[in-house]
């Protein structure tokens, strides 16, 4: 039971962070399919920090690694911004390309790193191992990781930013009616970049939060195994609203954790195979999407490149 809670929290935070990333991007008018790739890059950067500076004091290490994941996520998301905002290219296609690129980059970097680190001859693997003790706390019977707290803080911040500050107002205006925003002197391009970059930061942290607390070795050949796409579903299910997203994330997380620890719970008697369990969150989200997106609150101008000149 405690395990179920532990893993539910673990995945929920990840999905929430990434989904909120998607939310910021889409609220500003840019569909962000690239979250999967951004997660991988962010996770990679964070892990690299852990590997390179293993003997930093714990707090510094935690701060630095998380910072690294956020920043790298931002930088990678800039590629999306560039193609989608500056070049006005198709957002979905650009995002898809970035996803494919991310895994390739991660593998090459890690292998190059492993090669360098022990003067190997190509026998370097795409795996990195690290220690994650600094991220994990035991509270009574519960094991929680630092990202739970970070997640809650970011959740509140996101809500406030989006609905209680002028920046939020402007960002949302750009996603709903860019021409209107432009006519009152709001720089649409700048705010769309802002949205995309925030999503990059959250996506990056999310990727790191997915990799680090759960294991101490990660094989970057698998990227983040579809978590980014699941987060997109969470975002839609959460109707682009922070707290709804948090709820949706928990819902999906329960399924995901059950898939893994079912055989050591009462469910083991059902004798369902891991394939079945792995299917569940996706099927669940499909059903939910079918019902929710009839009256979807999607930002009106999302996916449409903004072009000043056009009437």
């Amino acid at each position: 039971m405690f395990l179920l809670i532990k893993f539910t929290l673990l995945y929920a935070v990840v999905l929430m962070l990434v989904a909120m990333g998607g939310m910021f991007s889409e609220r500003s008018g840019v569909i962000n399919i690239a979250l999967e790739g951004i997660m991988a890059i962010g996770g990679l950067a964070g892990v690299f920090v852990l590997v390179l500076f293993p003997d930093l004091p714990a707090p510094a290490l935690v701060a630095l690694s998380i910072l690294a994941s956020a920043v790298s996520g931002m930088i990678y998301s800039l590629l999306l911004g560039f193609s989608a905002i500056t070049l006005k290219a198709d957002q979905t296609i650009g995002g898809t390309a970035l996803n494919m690129l991310a895994t390739a980059i991660a593998i090459v970097l890690v292998k190059a790193f492993n090669n360098g680190s022990d003067a190997g001859n190509g026998a370097a693997s795409a795996k990195l191992n690290y220690t994650n003790a600094a991220f994990i706390y035991k509270i009574g019977p519960f094991t929680v990781n630092i990202f739970l707290f970070i997640g809650i803080i970011l959740l509140i911040c996101s809500y406030v930013f989006l609905f209680k500050t002028k920046w939020g107002l402007r960002l949302r205006a750009c996603g709903e009616h860019p021409q209107a925003a432009d006519s009152v002197g709001i720089n649409v391009y700048q705010w769309r970049y802002t949205g995309v970059i925030i999503s990059g930061a959250l996506g990056g942290i999310g990727g790191f939060a997915y990799i680090v607390p759960s294991v101490t070795t990660w094989n970057f050949e698998v990227g983040v195994a579809g978590a980014g796409f699941l987060a997109l579903a969470v975002m839609i299910f959460g109707q682009w609203k922070p707290f709804h997203i948090a709820g949706a994330a928990v819902f999906f997380a329960v399924f995901r954790s059950l898939a893994n620890i079912a055989d050591s719970t009462v469910l083991s008697h059902l004798g369902l195979s891991k394939n079945i369990y792995s299917m569940m969150p996706f099927i669940a989200s499909m059903i939910i999407l079918a019902f929710t997106s009839k009256n979807s609150q999607a930002p009106k101008a999302e996916g449409i490149p903004y072009d000043k000149g056009a009437r």
């Binding site: 394939n275 999407l289 079918a290």
Partner: protein, 373 residues
Amino acid sequence: MNEKTKNALLSIVASLVCIVIGLLVGFIILYCINAENAVDGFTRIIKGGFYLKPKGIGSEIAQSAPLIMTGLSVAFAFKTGLFNIGAAGQYTVGVFGALYFAIILHMPWYVCLLAAMVCGAIWGAVPGIFKAYFNVNEVITSIMFNWIGLYLVNELMYNTIPGMYDQKTTRTYKLSSASPKSLIPDCGMNSIFRTSSTTIAIFIAIAIAVIIYIVLNKTTFGYELKACGFNKDAAKYAGINEKRNVVLSMTIAGALAGIGAGLYFLSGASEWNPQVSTALPAIGFNGIPVALLALSNPIGVIFAALFVAHISVGGAYLPTKYYQPEIADLIVAVIIYLCAFVTLFKGIVANLFKSKKEQKANANADNGKEEKK
């Protein structure tokens, strides 16, 4: 020179620009990793299958057949305003259809191919239905159904249906032994290329590409589909059932991907490993760059697929002493990323000599007004 031919020319130029830039970046990467072998490595990629004649060419052909199909799948959906990122899943389910009819039912190859097509079609139809009747973005649905499809197929082959999975090889049973008559005929091509899976699949794929081209450009059905793609509302206004068309085009896209799976697995090239459930078949996803590179033109898809197959095969010949096998993937991925901008390059190239023409157009339009008054 009239609009159409000019447009076609532009497209080709734009695609070539993409490829060149992509390869250039690829070379730079090679150079950065290991300077003195960069040229050798690069030539191997460029030579592709021709580096290992004739077998390399054979396997290049064998691989481009399914690529053409998944490329068509994506391109077809594009033409009708949909982004079919689900080709990978439709391909996977298609594999099941083909192999079930071959290994379990021992059907002749064309029946198995049909089965693959139907399975793929079903897997494409679902996102279509979700899009048309629940207005769920087809991209999300397709992504979900990619994974659902993978898990489902693995479950069926590995746990549910006895007799498909071969303990000894940890793959599905080889068709050559399990059901030779389910193998697509090779018409002696295998002996030419000294390979085992170079079949007429490639010709089937090309034929289908041509058919798709005709359907899209010469038939009322294609006219309707494209109208929906360009402008849903206008299509509806013209009395076209746009919901039905969405479902139809996704179904067809799925069918194409399914055929791709059939063409590959029924040529005995490979067996399915139902234990691996972390990655979807790359051929499915590579359909996207192929379609983009071809600017969604069915005929262009043929060449784009050949190109992608060419450099992927070539990438495998990189000397592992100096380059990890992933380098090739990286280079392909870079080209893909650039493909996202093909339309852009096109625009740029176009603007260079478009503007004059437009002026003329507007001019006579205005003179027109004058005369009337």
